[in-house]
Symmetry: C4
Subunit: 204 residues, 4 copies
């Protein structure tokens, strides 16, 4: 296997395992969720449409250009591919992006226009944070089946708020990212944990 194919195999395995972990938590219900890794400045490896993200295999992925179109025109990329591309174009340091649906992130995103998280030790997993004594704001965007329009809306917000650590789509889920799959996955875990704490706190 040449270097390129070896890299793809490693990224594929990392995303397959992240998907299994998320599935054990109930964070990739039905065929919801999608994952990607940046391969180069103009190519990404992304989950294919219709696959259950907790039961991925090597052929559950495809390579697409930054316009979101699969290199192999017979393949069908994830419906939300443009949201992944927006992240890679926004910040060249982003190497992987993961999208999850959880009960907590779905319920909270239907109630609020942004989720404020403060005073949690796990905030230290988020970009630019090195203390629990911090506060982040996770924006909630209205859902939109016109993905290009939604991606433009997200991009506008992130240009105005470069400190945005992740975002939510109302009634739909979380988008989180990192330099690689491991960092992105740890951020998903930290955010989903804090969202669940917030959900319990709103009950009081």
């Amino acid at each position: 296997m040449n270097d390129n194919a070896k890299q793809i195999a490693l990224h594929t395995q990392a995303m397959i395992e992240a998907g299994r972990m998320f599935h054990s938590r109930g964070w990739v219900p039905a065929t919801g969720g999608n994952f990607s890794v940046k391969l180069s400045s103009d190519q990404v490896l992304i989950t294919a449409s219709g696959w259950h993200k907790g039961e991925l295999a090597a052929d559950g992925f495809l390579v697409a250009g930054l316009d979101g179109k699969p290199l192999d025109a017979t393949r069908k990329a994830s419906y939300e591919t443009l949201l992944h591309m927006q992240l890679y174009q926004h910040d060249s340091k982003i190497g992987a992006a993961l999208h999850t649906h959880s009960i907590a992130n779905t319920v909270l995103s239907r109630r609020h226009s942004k989720i404020r998280l403060a005073g949690y030790e796990l905030l230290k997993l988020l970009p630019g944070i090195n203390t629990h004594d911090a506060e982040v704001s996770v924006p909630v965007f209205a859902n939109d089946q016109d993905i290009a329009r939604l991606a433009a809306h997200v991009d506008e917000h992130m240009k105005q708020h470069p400190e945005t650590p992740a975002y939510l789509i109302a009634g739909h889920g979380l988008y989180a990212w990192g330099a690689n799959v491991a960092q992105a996955r740890h951020r998903v875990e930290a955010l989903e944990f804090m969202f669940e704490c917030e959900l319990w706190s709103e009950k009081k």
Copy 2:
């Protein structure tokens, strides 16, 4: 193995795995729940009575006619077999039906006469829905130990409301379906996820 036996083996395996996944979520408690696949216009493959649906094996299934009676008269079909038959007779496109019990669907069905689900991205898994900006109504039927009577009641409702995406039996559980086990299973996951979101939302 001839073609027919091979088909049965594939359907059996799909239902065994769906059962294991549901069991990991707590959706097939004790011996609750039941699964079926349509084999032909007059035969179905259905889970046998008394088996724990999270621990099925090949002999946990039997073939029955559309009247609900097992071909092998020594076998005992699932108690709710007629509810599966009603679905196959109602719509020839239905190829598989799955029945699950979850905390969320049991609690909600004891409180309401129907469950309205709106604004969820996962609605797109349901028949005829292609946007989150939709609304479905999942009817709740009173439980009834006379299964023939309950099946007739369900059938009457579905003839009047052909858009019914799934239904609940109060204090008993969910019936969902699809063209095959995979689609039916994804719909169960999507519905159970949305029911759990609704359960949390009713707390507020």
Copy 3:
């Protein structure tokens, strides 16, 4: 292996697997819980003291007489052995008894002197019930470190209320039983499921 040893091996395996399933649900925390099977009119096979019930092995069990004392005097039986013996002496049809701790049964038993369960399909798993349109009352006994006294108290109640399907010890857990481990385990699943539904219902 002679017949007796083969029987013990089968019972041991059934209890090991029940323990693993309960552990996956969080129903045997720390070294809490205990399981037994009646071997004959004067001998029972019961979990040994100090073993984590989700991680049992063949040497995690011992044989005891109906007075609760291990045949092998060097072994230490489960602290609550007399509660198991009370059941076998109360009703000769009982062949297995399982004790679990769950969040739901612990919270509910600290709030109430009895738990009424009505209208659930899963009631049909309990002794003498063949319809959802039924009602059972699960008594809650105050906890007591004098197990002989607690067993006598339970026995007095069960003689007055022979229809008792299971019981709770406040802040401590559930005792359920059946003709064999499978039936007892299914009853535990059904009861824990209904308790969790009740816990959610009390929130409203």
Copy 4:
């Protein structure tokens, strides 16, 4: 393998398995949590920084002196190493310490300055308690990125309250201990179970 290496291998395996169990419960999210075992009066074996504690392997551990510094200066010890050292210096009977993050312990520690637990059978897992009819107070310390200062604060409290069975850091998690990993792990399970019961009880 000599005796010392054999001991380290056993302790490592115990902590790897404890981590997997905690991960299945969601108690070691992202790279949160850390575990240690006392090797001698001046050496401890502790989890390395940055490892996911649910996915540990043999090289995820390092040996450190009681000042918290790794013997191998190229390694990076867990950020909270001084909290582990405080415990070993406070009480020579402590042989292992485990730190977990759970939804329950995070939510409760953000609301209260101490958590009172009374009337639970599982209290018997805690040091010095042999009945459910007891009461313990789990102190909550404010979080602090200056770990040396936090450790000093904890130490002062434990000298005044030697009966302290475990402690919480607000919005951060639980520290529990025992003579060995098994006892510490059972205490974590018992405490996390009781915290979850308390969280449900605060909802009423």
